[in-house]
Every structure is written in C-alpha cells, then in structure tokens.
C-alpha cells in the first residue's frame, strides 16, 4: 500500500469507504430537491385541492405519501447511511466491510425509492404512513435497508475498541434498528385499526430510533470534532441512548389518544412520550456543555451551527409531542395539523440540519475540495431555520385553532362538524394554511441553496488535499 497524493480524484482501484459515503450523500442531496418539491406541492394542494385537478398522481392523497417517502427514504436515509459509513471506520478503527455491496446499494436504494414512489403516485400505495409503498416495493426497500446494517455490524466485528464511544453506539444502533422497523411494518393479519396502530408505532420508530438516533450519533461526533473539545459526558449520552431505545417506538401511540386503542396503551404512550424528553435534555445538555467556553467557534463554523441547531431544538418536537399525548390536550388538538407540525420539524428541521452539518463538515474532506461558499451555506441555515420553524409554528397554531373551533361548534350547537358545518371550521384556519405554505416555500428555497452549494463545491470548489481513508487492497472485500 502506498500513500498517494490526491487533489481532486481518488485513483485507488479499491472502493474506499469515504467514496461510498460520498455517493450516499450526493444521492440524498439529489432526492432532497425532489422531496422539497413534492412537499411544496403537497402543501399547495392542501390549500388549493382543485389546483391542476383531475390527475391521479397529483391529488393530495397521493402527493403526501410520495413526499414523505422521498423525504425519509430518498433524502434522509441515504444521507444518514453515508454519515454512518464515514463515522464507523473512524470511530471503530476498522475498515468498512463489504464495500462493493455498500457501493452498489446506493443505486439500488435510489431505484427502489423511485419505483415505490412511482407506484404510490400511480395509486398502488397502501395508505398507511410511513411504509406506504405497495408490499413488493416494501420488500425491496427492506433489502436495501438490511445492507447498511450488515455492512456496519460486519465492520464493527473488527473494531479496535472494546468500549465504543456513544456516537458509535447511536449510529450503529440506528442503522440496525431501521431494517427491523421496516421488517415489522407490514405485519399481516391486522384489521385497519391494528394496522393504524402499527403504523403509528413504526412511524415514531423511524422518526426517533432512526432519524433522531442517527442524528444524535452524528452530533456526538461532530460537536467535539468541530469544537476540539472532548465530549462532556459519555454516561449522559448513554442514558439518552437507552431512553431512546425504550420510548422511541411506542410513544407514537400518542397520536391515538382517545382513539380505538386500549386505554392502557394510551397511558403507556403518554408516559413514554414524557420519558423521551430525557433524550432531548441529555442531547441538549451534552452538546452545550461540550462546546463549553468555545462559543466563539459557533460564529465561525457553519456545520457546528447546523449541528447545534439540530441538537438544541430537539426538545421542541419531543416536548410538543409529549404534551399532545395528554388526554386533556389531545381532546382539542387530536387529529389536527398539530402532528404535521411536529413531523415537519423532525424531518426537515432536526433531520435536515444534522444532515447539512455532516455534509458541510465532511463533504470537503470526501471530495478533496473546499466548500464553495460559506456564506451561501449560512443562508441555507437561515432560510431553513425560518422556513421550518414558521411552517411548524403555523401548523401547530392551525391545529390549536381547528381543535377549538370543532369543540366550539359542539358546545354552542352553532354547527355540526360534518358537511357544511365542517367547511365553516376550515374558514377559521384558511389564513394560517396560506402562511404555512409561505413557510414551506422558504424552506424549499433554503434546500435549493443547499443543493447549489453542493453542486458548486463539486464543480468549482478549491482543490485541497484528500482526507479520505484508502483501504488496504485485500481488506474488507
């Protein structure tokens, strides 16, 4: 093995792990633009259902699952997998195993997501969030999600450290949880209520165990790296991890409070929703304590600001979800846009910011090029911060007002929440729905800026020395 001088291209015949991570990240970014567009169209159709009416794939009922699938499995999943492929060799001291398989899986995942999303668009979706692909596509997706778990666990068998750092624990567990969640998402033999309960469980599991779990793994790696400070507390991070493992899935039943589920299950979900707050507190506390006296770096490092934004704001969706589970609160905001606000914040906020933090920190090293423009990256942060927070805030407000309006109609007897009566309640939130759309547009502009920064970094970034890990030729394959 010889040391090579690289500037712009990796000439090694072997596939290095950073190259595989880079492919995942670039695929995720391409899907981000599609996800942003579909999400924008989804909200547009939510406000104007008759806009470009008469096309099956263009109805709100199909656009929404298409947008969700592309967001979760097209954008966030490949990006977080790429981050795992970047982090695991560095944290474990072992070269990535099965690199050819991992490299092939990039294209496989892309194909499956396009096929599955296309099938949903053509009216073959199963209608239950989050795994709404038709069964055959869900099976293909499962295979694509098993591969990263196999690659990571196989790599970890050759790790050099017995006691893994918390960031490795979060990352590896998230990668392993994902295919398990996907595997149980299509459990047969359930009636529609049972499938809906299962859907709530798996959706929460994907949000918390996969996206938040991987995000915290990245954050626990990046924040110490970028601040050049050791992690404040491994033990605190581990407490957060086990809390996440316990509460990540079943807390999702909070959406079913007052619904057709056993009362004990509702109570369990409410308690676990509160337990999940521990995850947010530990993550927030650890990140801020790690930064310690180096807040000056926050001003100068865009990826650090993204990472801290994701970590510091994680309590917001978690606390609001926990609140929404309470029976008294759920009787008002249950079944309203409140939950959409929380999901939007988790996916485009927490997930999006941590993905951006990783990309802005690691992509220059993986590409051998400096980031094209820090100022544009900063604008990405500002726009998505404004867009995501305003969108979610308007959705939460929409939920509150809608809930009170429905309740008010029943109390006063002025209208019934069906037919024309329900149409009256929509008038009360029409302005907020339009404002929500503005927030989504701002978010999308921020995403376009992100895509532009990455594109220009690839094509016009100033060459720097590679910092990729080049594997030994016979190693790992």
């Amino acid at each position: 093995m010889v040391a090579e001088t690289h500037h712009n291209s990796a000439s090694s015949t072997a596939i290095d792990s950073d190259s595989i991570a880079r492919r995942h990240v670039l695929l995720g970014t391409a899907f981000l633009l599609l996800a942003g567009f579909l999400t924008l169209m989804q909200f547009l159709k939510g406000v104007f259902p008759a806009f470009l009416d008469g096309l099956g794939f263009w109805t709100y009922g199909r656009l929404r699952p298409m947008a969700t699938a592309v967001t979760v499995f097209g954008w966030l999943t490949p990006t977080l997998i790429g981050a795992a492929y970047y982090l695991v060799p560095r944290l474990s001291g072992a070269p990535l195993r099965f690199r050819k398989l991992a490299a092939f899986n990039v294209w496989y995942l892309a194909g499956v997501v396009l096929l599955g999303t296309g099938a949903v668009g053509l009216g073959a979706g199963d209608g239950f969030e989050l795994f709404e692909f038709p069964p055959w596509a869900d099976v293909l997706l499962l295979v694509g999600l098993i591969v990263p778990a196999v690659v990571v666990t196989a790599t970890l068998r050759y790790r050099s450290n017995v006691a893994p750092p918390a960031s490795l624990l979060y990352t590896a567990a998230a990668i392993v949880w994902l295919p398990v969640i996907a595997a149980v998402s299509n459990l047969p033999g359930l009636n529609p209520v049972g499938i809906s309960l299962l859907s709530s469980f798996t959706t929460a599991a994907v949000h918390y165990l996969w996206i938040v779990g991987a995000a915290l793994g990245i954050s626990l790696y990046l924040v110490p790296q970028l601040t050049e400070q050791p992690l404040f507390s491994e033990q605190t991070a581990r407490i957060g991890f086990w809390t996440l493992a316990l509460a990540g899935g079943a807390s999702g039943y909070s959406r079913f409070t007052h619904g057709p589920a056993p009362d004990w299950l509702e109570t369990t979900a409410i308690v676990l929703g509160l337990v999940l707050v521990v995850v947010a507190i530990t993550a927030f506390g650890n990140a801020t304590a790690t930064v310690g006296g180096r807040w000056d770096l926050v001003q100068s490092s865009v990826p650090l600001r993204f990472a801290l934004a994701a970590t510091a704001l994680l309590p917001v969706p978690i606390v609001l979800s926990a609140l929404a589970g309470f029976r008294s609160v759920a009787s008002i905001i249950g079944l309203t846009a409140w939950w959409d606000g929380t999901s939007f914040f988790l996916l485009f906020g927490i997930g999006g910011w941590i993905a951006a933090a990783f990309i802005y920190a690691a992509l220059p090293r993986m590409l051998g090029r400096d980031l094209f423009d820090d100022h544009l990256a900063e604008w990405h942060l500002r726009l998505t911060m404004i867009g995501v927070m305003s969108t979610s805030a308007f959705l939460w407000l929409t939920g509150l007002i809608a809930g009170f309006t429905w309740t008010g109609g029943t109390y006063s007897g002025a209208y019934v929440n069906t037919g024309d009566g329900f149409a009256q309640t929509l008038d009360a939130v029409s302005l907020l729905q339009s404002l929500t759309l503005v927030g989504v547009v701002i978010t999308f502009i921020g995403q376009l800026v992100h895509g532009y920064v990455i594109y220009r970094t690839i094509t016009s970034g100033t060459p720097i020395a590679h910092e990729i890990l080049v594997p030994a030729e016979a190693d790992g394959e």
Binding site: Q229, G334, T418, H466, D475
Partner: protein, 271 residues
C-alpha cells in the same frame, strides 16, 4: 509539556496543539510513561521509557484510552499504514519519510492488528446492539402484538358491527390507495369535539381510522344526508365543483367505473 514540541508536532501532523497534547497524555497514560517522554519520542528523540506499573493498574488502563471522537479524528493523519492509509497532504513530497505512528498508536490498534483482521469475540458493542434490538422487540410485542390480541378487543354487543360487502372491501382498498385517509378520519372519539358525529369507534371497526382531519369525519357518512345517496356521492367524487360549488375537494373522476362504484359502496356501508 514543552509547548514548542507540541506546536511542532501539531504542524507536522496537521492537527491542533490541544489534540496532540491530549493524545500524548492518553498515550502516556496507556503505556505508563510521562507525556513529555512521549512527545520527545514523537519528535524523533529517544523512545519513551515505560514507567513500571502494577499489572492490575495496566489491566484497567484501556478505559482511559477509549477513543473519543476527537482523539480518533486526531489520528486521521496517521492511520495505520497497511489498513487505513490516508493519502498524504497535497503539499507533502511523495518521498517524505514515513510518519511516525505515536498518535495513532495511542488511540488506534497497531497496524498489524488491523492488517490481520480477526473478529472480536462478542464484546460490549455487540451486546449493546443486541440489547437495543431486544428492547425494540419487547416494546413491539407489548405495544403492537398485545393490543391486537382478542383479550384487548373492544366490542359493544348492543351495537351491530359493520360487515363490509366484497365490493366495499375493495372500495376500502381504493380509499386507502387514493390517500383519502390522509384527509378524512373514520374514528369517532369519546370527546366533546366528536359528540355530534355518532357512535364511538372501537378497535374492531373495519373502517380506516385515519390520523388527520383536513376534511370531515366519514365514520357514519353512509347514514347522513345527502351522502347516503349513491348517485349524489358518485357525482360529488367525480366532479365536486359541479355538485357543490366552493367545497374545494379533489376530483376523483379519473377512477375507473368499477373502482368508483366500490369506493361509493364502501362509503355507503360506513354507517
């Protein structure tokens, strides 16, 4: 520690001085020597002498050198050559002498260990991952399997359970595939808000509960007027604007006749 040596090493390895210092301390702690000796050795001086320490103390040392993310990244410039070799910095001459490995050795295994990969037997991480999956499995059984068991079924003998016809069963699939459940619920809750919507929905309902109410609840749509009329429903779903202007509902006129009929059957049987 000598600041000059630390700075020189920092420049040589392309890492921050703080990281070099911490790595030296970790290495010194691991091998029982003084940090200054480690730094001298890295700078090309004599090897750092090991301070004899009791065997028990050595056995407990690995905890102190557990690589934090910072430490691991700090050794990136000095990856073990035969396993993970990072190309040199662009400005460095290709024939530069092989860089010493002290920092790497402090936090990464010796090259030989990675060059002859041997799976770690079990170990903490495997146990932790297994534990994480086991917790998921337990929660899944408790929260998904158990509620679906017959003992948890909610039924009211006094209320006739809806039994869907074959056409309506297919209509339910159309309802799901078109994403109707993303805007309409079919669950009436025991709360004031839903007091006018009809009988509360129980767990054995064959209808799709849904989780979002952008439009009105459809649990008992088949027993309300004018939606209890097949022709009216077909007309409304096919061309909402013509049937009820200003309602702002998507048109489903693109559905095949069979799918539309089954969808209408499903809605009519939702009583």
């Amino acid at each position: 520690m000598s600041r000059e040596i630390v700075d020189a090493l920092a420049e040589r390895f392309g890492a921050s001085a703080a990281l070099i210092q911490r790595s030296a301390e970790a290495r010194a702690s691991a091998q029982g020597s003084a940090p200054e000796a480690v730094l001298n050795a890295w700078a090309g001086g004599s090897p750092s002498p090991a301070i004899p320490t009791p065997a028990v103390a050595e056995a407990t040392e690995p905890e102190t050198v557990t690589p934090e993310p910072v430490a691991v990244e700090a050794i990136d410039p000095q990856e073990p050559e035969e396993a993970l070799v990072r190309p040199e910095q662009g400005v460095a001459p290709a024939e530069a002498p092989a860089a010493p490995t002290p920092i790497a050795a402090a936090v990464l295994p010796a090259p030989a260990a990675m060059n002859e990969p041997a799976p770690m037997p079990g170990g903490t991480l495997s146990s932790l991952l297994l534990g994480a999956v086991a917790i998921f499995a337990i929660m899944f059984i408790a929260a998904v399997i158990a509620p679906a068991s017959p003992g948890n079924a909610q039924t009211l003998d006094a209320v006739d359970q809806i039994v869907l016809s074959a056409g309506a069963e297919h209509g339910r699939e159309v309802y799901l595939a078109q994403g109707c459940a993303f805007c309409h619920t079919q669950q009436v809750r025991p709360v004031v808000t839903d007091a006018d919507l009809g009988i509360v929905t129980l767990s054995e309902s064959p209808l799709v509960p849904g989780l979002r109410r952008n439009g009105p609840d459809l649990t008992h749509i088949g027993s309300r007027q004018p939606t209890d009329d097949s022709d009216w429903l077909t007309g409304y779903l096919g061309d909402p604007e013509a049937t009820r202007a200003g309602r702002n509902h998507a048109s489903f006129g693109y559905l095949s006749t069979g799918d539309m009929e089954d969808l209408v059957d499903y809605l009519l049987e939702s009583k």
